[in-house]
């Protein structure tokens, strides 16, 4: 039974003899051989057998065109078979994909109109909601005169339906304004 003082280096014997160890490991291996007789003997033994085996029979065939042709035919046959097998699968899958596409298109096509519809509903709801009186008076009371005689700016002011004419007149007078036109001279 093979014994080993250092299994790691014994594992590397094939690579050492093939010259495929990296430089650092190669150096360590050679250092190990200087002090490890078992490793040295095993390397010599391995090398002897390797050389002998190569001497006995090192022949390998050259790549054969006829063999490659056979392999290509085999691949073509395989691909034809896979094509037949996958055709049924792909028909089902394309039908399934089409269904998904239609659903997706439907969703996309409905998204914008639905979005607009929701927005419009929200605006209507907001408009129908009773506002706070503070909001109305705040607009006039907290800012400088909204109408300038020097410009043609026009402002639409929406009053609550329950607002009385007298209240409007009081408000207008407080900002130096009057009713100049409207549903009636009284502002109704």
């Amino acid at each position: 039974m093979m014994t080993s003082n250092n299994p790691d280096y014994f594992d590397l014997i094939p690579e050492y003899l093939q010259g495929t160890l990296d430089p650092e490991t190669h150096q360590k291996f050679e250092q190990e051989m200087e002090t490890n007789d078992s490793l040295k003997i095993e390397v010599e033994d391995f090398s002897k057998f390797r050389t002998m085996y190569h001497e006995i029979d090192a022949h390998t065939d050259q790549p054969s065109d006829s063999m490659f042709h056979k392999i290509s035919n085999s691949i073509d046959q395989l691909e034809i078979k896979e094509g037949i097998d996958s055709k049924e699968t792909s028909q089902f899958q394309s039908f399934r994909l089409r269904i998904l596409e239609v659903v997706s298109e439907l969703k996309d096509s409905l998204t914008i109109p639905w979005g607009i519809a929701v927005l419009q509903t929200a605006v209507i709801v907001l408009l129908l909601l009773p506002g706070t009186s503070q909001t109305i008076y705040k607009t006039l009371g907290s800012s400088p005169p909204a109408i300038s005689t020097q410009t043609d700016n026009a402002y639409n002011i929406v009053f609550k339906q329950t607002t009385h004419e007298s209240e409007i007149r009081v408000l207008l007078l407080s900002v130096g304004g009057t009713i100049i036109s409207g549903p009636s001279e009284e502002g109704r």
Binding site: M1, M2, F10, D11, P14, E15, Q18, T20, L21, D22, T25, D45, K48, F49, R50, M52, Y53, H54, E55, I56, D57, A58, H59, T60, D61, Q62, P63, S64, M67, F68, K70, I71, S72, S74, I75, L78
Partner: protein
Amino acid sequence: MIENKMLDEEYNLAVLTAGGDKAAFRIIYDKTYGRVFRYVKKLVRNDEMAEDVITQTYTAVWEKSSSFRGTGRLTTWIIGIARNIAFNEFRKNTFHSRFSEEHMNADRSSQNIPEHLDRKEKLKQAISALSPKHEEIIELVFFQDLTYPEVSGIINIPVNTVKTRVFHAKQALKRELSKRNITYDDI
């Protein structure tokens, strides 16, 4: 510690092949055919079966090239595929398996050993007299230059078992050589 540049080149070839590049596949075939075919011929010892296994092997290489990770050599990977295919054929009983119990128990030592054979022929005969397992391990380690972990991966046995099998294969070969009057020192 296989040269990284070579591994990268082989990996790139596999990637191209996976993408349907027949030219890259041909390069893989040309680079690996010699060693792979030699291994298969020794494994199955039947020319017809060897060609069949090779055809199936490279067809599988074409199909599975996307699964090649590039961490080891292409030849090693392909030999592994070839071995699996060969053993599948053995299981189908299409061809006689050299690895069957019957062959393994055959008394190889009673082979007639002609005296007139030259040294080289005697060496060849000594190797042929080994059990299939020993002959395979010697081919993989001493000719295909596979490392113990690579052999372990192909044959699907632990690395320590590979080392043990190599040891016993060498001992068996020494015995066969001595029967043919070739001493270890004469090697």
